[in-house]
């Protein structure tokens, strides 16, 4: 397969098509409208469904409905739009239907701006909606990874009958990079819907999909089942990337766009004789806590870098359990931290820990 120059938004959209996406429901918002634009042409061309809903609330409920019918389904949005979808995320999680959501985060809070941000980490990882659940959260750092993780998101959503969320930011969405697109998977034929799907109860008892359990005992059982599933996901689906960690004395932890920026920081630090390394979480939930704890036992210190006020920082600190000092550097409001401002942070830590 040849490498082609793909723009991030379009790469995610085409990867979803290749993964067998049958239906997309969404509402435009910068910086991810290109996903809708691309799919509005591409899906009808393939005889599949593209629908621009009247709002994000409508989009996510259409996603919920299509997922209940056993379709491979997705929506995408950006921060304010994702906030509007949160009720639906919770219903999807409790109903245990698979769905994929893409959030190209933008500067917040509020209407904010359209610049790159990682301000929705807490929202994605800790509180994607009301009640006790976590979506699987995937954070690509390159266009190739955006493609690969989009495919993976569909597979994980199916395997665990859960919500899988891809979080990135507008800079990844707008950037172009050579990448390889996987071959087209066939769309699942209507006769091969999952056994739990609502496909019309001809010749069988009706399936019931709901998130309403009025009896406390029933809802507790549902919750226990969901928690057992989350433990299975946490045990099996943690993913991360490491750069130059073998002999690292100082470890940077950063995800997504900032993660790849910190690769440059590690290179520049090494050129100056600083033994720096990088751990880039690929799954934000489940979080690579065990690996971070292992590294905490042997590095002098960790520097967490994010485009927010310190959100993943809390998960790093929980994993480190004070085994080593943890420092933080962040930019806000859509500002992107560049290597020449991160490296001095690392050097300062080197002098102090």
């Amino acid at each position: 397969m040849a490498r082609e120059l793909w723009e991030g938004n379009m790469a995610i959209a085409e990867a979803a098509v290749r993964a067998g996406l049958e239906a997309f429901f969404g509402y435009p918002i910068t910086p991810q409208t290109e996903i809708l634009e691309y799919l509005s042409r591409r899906l009808p061309e393939l005889g599949r469904v593209f629908l621009q809903a009247e709002s994000e609330v409508a989009s996510i409920n259409m996603v919920y409905g299509a997922a209940c019918a056993g379709a491979r389904v997705m929506t995408s949005s950006s921060s304010p739009g994702i906030s509007l979808m949160q009720e639906g995320f919770s219903y999807i999680a409790c109903s245990e239907v698979p769905a994929v959501v893409v959030n190209l985060m933008r500067g917040g809070p509020g209407l904010g701006n359209v610049a790159p941000s990682q301000g929705d980490y807490f929202q994605a990882v800790k509180m994607a909606g009301h009640g006790d659940f976590h979506p699987i959260v995937l954070a690509p750092g390159s266009i190739q990874e955006a493609i690969d993780l989009t495919i993976l998101a569909f597979d994980l959503a199916d395997r665990y009958r859960t919500l899988a969320m891809i979080v990135a930011d507008g800079s990844l969405g707008q950037m172009m990079e050579p990448a390889e697109m996987p071959p087209m998977r066939p769309v699942r034929p209507p006769g091969e819907r999952p056994p739990w799907a609502l496909t019309g109860a001809r010749g069988r008892l009706p399936n019931v999909i709901t998130s309403l359990y009025l009896a406390e005992e029933d809802l507790e059982q549902v919750n226990l089942r969901l928690q057992a599933k989350l433990r299975r996901i946490a045990a099996n689906e943690v993913r991360w990337k490491e750069y130059a960690t073998d002999d690292a004395e100082l470890l940077i932890v950063a995800f997504g766009t900032v993660g790849r920026i910190c690769q440059t920081v590690v290179r520049e630090a090494r050129a100056k004789g600083l033994k720096a390394g990088l751990l880039r979480p690929v799954t934000l939930w489940p979080f690579p806590s065990t690996r971070i704890a292992e590294l905490a036992a042997r590095v002098r210190g960790m520097l967490v870098v994010e485009m927010n006020a310190g959100q993943m920082l809390e998960d790093v600190r929980l994993a480190v359990e004070a085994r080593c000092p943890v420092r933080f550097y962040g930019r806000l409001g859509g500002m992107i931290p560049l290597p020449d401002e991160i490296l001095p942070q690392l050097e300062a830590m080197d002098a102090e820990v």
């Binding site: 507008g170 950037m175 590690v266 020449d340």
Partner: protein, 179 residues
């Protein structure tokens, strides 16, 4: 080897397109490459720029504060990015719209009367390709032919009528840089 090229101007001057052709050529030549535009609430005539990074190793940060080369197509771009280019780098100035001289003796500066040269070819729309030709020639990162081949391969159907004009513009820019 890593080169970072910033191309900046007004929306409509073809800065993003010029950067894309450079990125395609670099990819086909086997390099790692990133192309990243500035984006935001855009207006015609507003600022427009992109950064292209070409490297023989995996690219970390797709953005740099100090690129190794820049094409500036407008006065605001000149003011913003002339000071940013790394010492020893290349600066291509669209002299048709930018009357001032560079204050940077540590750069190789090329003053390109891109609009006049483009008008000689029959369309002001190829001023971007004239500047790109000058840059590619001055930096010797890629042979000029790789950009021409990239145009052959990737220029979209509606734009193919402009193919030979774009190539000619590229060559004119390059020959200016050779002088």
């Amino acid at each position: 080897m890593q080169e970072e090229i910033l191309i900046s101007g007004f929306g409509g001057q073809g800065t993003l397109f010029a950067g894309q052709m450079l990125a395609y050529a670099a990819m086909d030549a086997g390099f790692h490459v990133t192309w990243i535009p500035s984006y935001g609430p855009e207006i015609r005539g507003g600022r427009s720029r992109c950064t292209v990074i070409i490297s023989d190793q995996e690219i970390g940060s797709p953005l740099v504060r100090h690129p190794s080369a820049a094409i500036v197509m407008s006065i605001p771009s000149m003011e913003a990015f002339e000071p940013a280019v790394r010492p020893g780098g290349v600066l291509v100035v669209n002299a048709s719209l930018i009357p001032m001289r560079s204050q940077r003796p540590d750069l190789r500066v090329l003053y390109v009367p891109a609009l006049e040269m483009a008008m000689e070819l029959g369309s002001t729309r190829v001023a971007n390709m004239i500047c790109l030709g000058a840059l590619v020639q001055a930096m010797s990162i890629l042979p000029l032919e790789t950009i021409e081949q990239a145009m052959d391969r990737y220029l979209g159907e509606p734009h193919r009528q402009w193919l030979s004009l774009n190539k000619e513009a590229l060559r004119r820019g390059a020959s200016l840089a050779m002088q």
